[in-house]
Symmetry: C2
Subunit: 473 residues, 2 copies
């Protein structure tokens, strides 16, 4: 267990070359939008994971579903891999061209296809980011709550089944995608779902594509649920003498059914890092950062319940942040914890875990994981969407230091084993990518993975869609 990065996760040299005829056809159709420049390829052969850069052979910048379909038809003809690229914010090696091929960059697909405020729905192209989305609808009185921190693209968020800080109240991409436009492995365009809120019409293809990490089709448009902006929003922080107190308070809040909108844990290391980066002057204790949405009365009621619970668990007095600027500053700091952690440890990359467990087991897994982390001697910090039972313990390892990397990966493996033993999952929101392929087998069993593989073989018989990810072919 000292080499927890599985062999099949490493870049392979048996690349499936893009034949000259295909490259010529791409260049003819896309002109300068098809690039083989080294810098462009390098940029598309990495993500936020610590894996080495593994560039594709070419990058095609698509503007439309029809562009994507054209690439896929050529790729199918020549059996060449295609890797969809949104904002590049994946954490698990999703974007690496481990079998070569073409990176299909969707970041210019930023068109709002249709807004229906009267139905609380919107359809956007896959390259629209969550910040752009909320900017575009800001005059409708509606918002899209899913917020993974990074300014990810909606296509990418759908493909990794992302969630983030608001999921405890509003659900994840699983619950908030109504329908998709998808280009298949054969270059055909299908539309899944409708704009109706629910449906029992056949297999749930929408949910099959959500979380499929580009391995079953390329998502080019996403229809999403929107929500009325809450009448009242307030945020609060509460410090605890121990991390156990913060976790126990969270468990109780969820068990009581308080409809809290955000409930984030920061351990003392994370607080120090964001203090250093954002000069927030937070007390350097474990803390919960919470947000309440609703009517004035309901926000008041929720906050009172939570205050009583945190007091019982040893929490210190709430500090309120009711002014929007103050809230924005706090949440910006939380979202920057990832970069703050790296900044505090120059020359390091982050090995981030992402387990999620039933809420009652959260204290147990956090305790054991901290003990394990301390024993490694590596710098680490914890942030987490603890209201969902999901947290990230990030190790900071020196770039290129194999021994440190192995230490971190070993601890990560043990954490996953703990999560699975507690009836949880190896990944709450980051996906499998390259990094967790073996963990998926532990979690879903060989039967479950065989079923996923059968579906993959049926829908992508040449294995051209983001090959080498999620499970071995």
């Amino acid at each position: 267990m000292n080499a927890p990065i599985p062999d099949h996760a490493l870049p392979t040299f048996e690349q499936r070359r893009v034949p000259p005829a295909m490259l010529a056809a791409l260049q003819q159709r896309f002109g300068e939008r098809c690039s083989t420049a080294a810098a462009v390829r390098e940029q598309h052969g990495r993500d936020e994971s610590p894996f080495p850069v593994t560039p594709p052979e070419a990058v095609v910048f698509c503007d439309s579903t029809e562009d994507v379909a054209a690439v896929l038809r050529l790729a199918a003809e020549h059996a060449v891999p295609v890797i969809p690229y949104g904002a590049g914010s994946s954490l698990e090696g999703h974007l690496l061209a481990v079998q070569g091929g073409i990176s299909v960059d969707l970041s210019a697909m930023t068109r709002i296809v249709g807004v229906n405020p009267e139905d609380l729905t919107i359809t956007v192209q896959a390259g629209v980011t969550r910040e752009q989305l909320n900017q575009e609808i800001k005059d409708t009185g509606l918002f899209f709550p899913i917020d993974p921190g990074a300014n990810a693209s909606l296509g990418g968020m759908a493909a990794t089944r992302a969630s983030g800080t608001n999921a405890v109240r509003y659900g994840t991409m699983r619950e908030n995608v109504l329908g998709l436009t998808v280009v298949t492995a054969a270059g055909e365009v299908i539309r899944t779902g409708t704009r109706a809120k629910k449906s029992s019409a056949g297999y749930d293809l929408t949910r099959l594509f959500v979380g499929s990490e580009g391995t079953l089709g390329v998502i080019t448009e996403v229809t999403l649920k929107l929500y009325p902006l809450p009448e009242a929003v307030s945020a609060a922080i509460c410090h605890f003498p121990t991390i156990a107190g913060a976790v126990d308070a969270t468990i109780r809040v969820i068990q009581m059914g308080v409809p809290i909108a955000r409930c984030e844990l920061l351990d003392v290391n994370a607080v120090r890092a964001v203090n250093a980066q954002s000069r927030l002057g937070l007390r350097e204790h474990p803390m919960l950062l919470m947000e309440f949405h609703g009517s004035e009365a309901s926000v008041q009621e929720q906050a009172e319940m939570v205050q009583a619970i945190t007091a019982e668990m040893g929490g210190e007095a709430f500090e309120w942040a009711s002014r929007p600027e103050e809230r924005t500053r706090l949440w910006a700091a939380r979202h920057k914890a990832y970069f703050a952690g790296m900044q505090a440890n120059p020359g390091c990359r982050s090995v981030t875990t992402d387990t999620c467990v039933p809420i009652s087991r959260l204290a147990e897994i956090i305790d054991a994981s901290i003990a394990d982390a301390e024993a490694t001697g590596l710098p680490y910090y914890i942030v987490g969407h603890v209201g969902d039972g999901n947290f990230h313990l990030a190790y900071l390892v020196k770039e290129g230091d194999a021994a440190q990397r192995a230490l971190a990966e070993g601890a990560s493996l043990r954490m996953v084993q703990r999560a699975i033993a507690l009836e949880g999952t190896c990944t709450g929101e980051h996906g499998i990518g390259l990094h967790k392929m073996d963990f998926l087998v532990d979690e879903a069993g060989t039967g479950g993975v065989a079923m996923m593989r059968a579906i993959k073989h049926a829908l992508d018989p040449q294995n051209i869609l983001n090959p080498g990810k999620i499970f071995a072919w």
Copy 2:
């Protein structure tokens, strides 16, 4: 368009016979739990749809996942169809043995596998009904909200992606199933999902099986989300001079983001039928039957908002039903509307529609569908989960009267076409079964259905799992 029941939906005579060796093996293992008695077979060859009874060759009463796996291994060996049977409350012909085979009756699988009140989760065998489930957990302070009216089995509800009156607040089976135990076409047992609230681990097999109508595997256990019983519940009815007023009020309530727990429409025909059956003495006007869940303050707040909206839309004064007995009586009447409608029209069976549209299009489709229904001259009534944009217009047609049946089916087809044109779905919660196979093609397109078929072929290469349903092989 006068023969809207598709040919492929009719019972086929090319039955795949159960070979004597298989029957002997079943009888040896199951003894009296394997029945070929005509009465038992007839009972398992029908559901609540108006299709003619189409019995299986034998019925096997299973007690465990291992029982089901044993049947499936034999069925795989002999390429014999298997049709899972829960409570028999399907509405679209799901249970009919159109290619013969074995009905696997799960109604004795009523064991609670594990309750975890501290995590708001429960795992039950597939034969547990929603009433039994809520009975079993009544001392935990929790409840399971999905309520399709019928006392359906949880396995069946998962298989048809059921929802019902509470879905507007709590979602459907899609949102409330955390994991499943499934027996595959080869007789292997797999477990999908975990007890964690969210996960990004590989393809969403749970959601693939939810709504697959027994065609991809047999669901034998279901892990579900539970909810804290609301501190306060109140119900109200509000009459409207016109159905349009009731619909417009609903649209406004949803658009305002009121977290109403139930919002049901009854047209004047439905009110008359439930009055006649349950002696409720309701005023015979179109009405909304609503329920509010939350804290005392929040229920009050919701009710005030809704009262203001209904008044604006011409609704008459609210009548409150705060006492539990009164509420139970009202909801029981609503749930019995289906049988009340048939009782009011002796010798009739119901042809029930199930379209669901984006909320802003609800008035438009209900208006057009009423005009169409009036033109048929057939008795009909409307009930609906209008808060979701979902409603049922049920035609009552004389059993065996082909002309009446064709009239009803013609109107049903036109309603589906309207729903699809309005970006809605042909079925909000009843499923495709035999009845809506052509509608599914209209809705999902040939590309979408081809993808479903590819998945079916991959997971059930011999077509033994509930063959002849959802789409043609």
